[in-house]
């Protein structure tokens, strides 16, 4: 199974991000979800925090080209990526399918933001 992420455009912090997850290559999954996450990293550690999340569909066979629209609230504190020599942070949108006994396919994209 393979996924694609289509976003309608950038959204302001505190606003709403709209888009859809498209099944690029079909398969059977237990769950299909999308989330806005903050990814922090230092030289030695990395952590990811989910700020908004939606389950798009549960158990079933997904066909090629099937599309699942979503709307997620953009956190007010979301900002552009920060990169320093000590580490950084990055806001991203991630779609993921939960597969039984297989590697979960996922697709990630930087959170597109507009000025408030």
């Amino acid at each position: 199974m393979r996924l694609a992420l289509e976003l309608d455009g950038p959204a302001p912090p505190g606003g709403e991000l709209r888009g859809r997850v498209v099944v690029a290559e079909g398969g059977t999954c237990r769950l299909l979800e999308v989330a806005i996450r903050l990814c922090e990293r230092s030289r030695d550690y990395a952590e990811e925090t989910v700020f908004a999340h939606a389950i798009l569909t549960r158990e079933g066979e997904r066909r090629d080209g099937e599309s699942f629209p979503f709307a997620l609230p953009v956190p007010v504190q979301a900002g552009p990526p920060v990169n320093t020599k000590w580490g950084g942070l990055n806001w991203e949108v991630r779609a993921r399918a939960d597969m039984a006994l297989k590697r979960d396919p996922e697709v990630r994209q930087g959170l597109p933001l507009t000025e408030v």
Binding site: P13, S42, Y45, V82, T84, W86, G87, G88, L89
Partner: protein, 142 residues
């Protein structure tokens, strides 16, 4: 032993100049904007330097060396550094304008890495820097 402990303590708790203080026109600002600092208790005929600093705190893996039968271990500690710093001279009336750089990190309190913006002042006597004042925090939005 006490001397070493004091050295570490002093590093974490530097001497501060209690005679000067800073007042800001606002404590929340966006990157690229300016903040106005007013130095209170500024001594006459003394130059005062105002510094704008971005401090970064990040989680670091620290390894303890193996000794005897032990194989050593790792612990998660918070390390600190200056990510960015700029200085401005206060005017004779004690005023200084500081611009937050648009290309530097914004304020963030995270679980792995954090960025904090601080403003401090210190007197300059015969070209020598005095002790810094207590820092004042400013929250920088993206």
């Amino acid at each position: 032993m006490i001397g070493i402990a004091f050295t570490y303590w002093r590093k974490a708790n530097p001497r501060r100049d209690p005679s000067v203080a800073i007042e800001l026109d606002r404590h929340r600002v966006r990157r690229g904007q300016e903040v106005r600092a007013l130095v209170a208790g500024m001594p006459e005929r003394t130059a005062v330097e105002v510094s704008l600093t971005c401090r970064v705190h990040w989680d670091q893996r620290k390894r303890s060396s193996a000794s005897g039968d032990s194989r050593g271990s790792t612990t998660r500690v918070v390390a600190e550094a200056t990510a960015w710093e700029d200085f401005a001279q206060a005017s004779p009336s004690g005023e200084a304008h500081l611009r937050l750089p648009a290309d530097q990190p914004y304020s963030h309190e995270g679980s792995v890495i954090s960025f904090a913006w601080l403003i401090t002042v210190r007197t300059m006597v015969d070209g020598k820097r005095g002790r810094p004042s207590m820092p004042v925090a400013v929250w920088v939005d993206p």
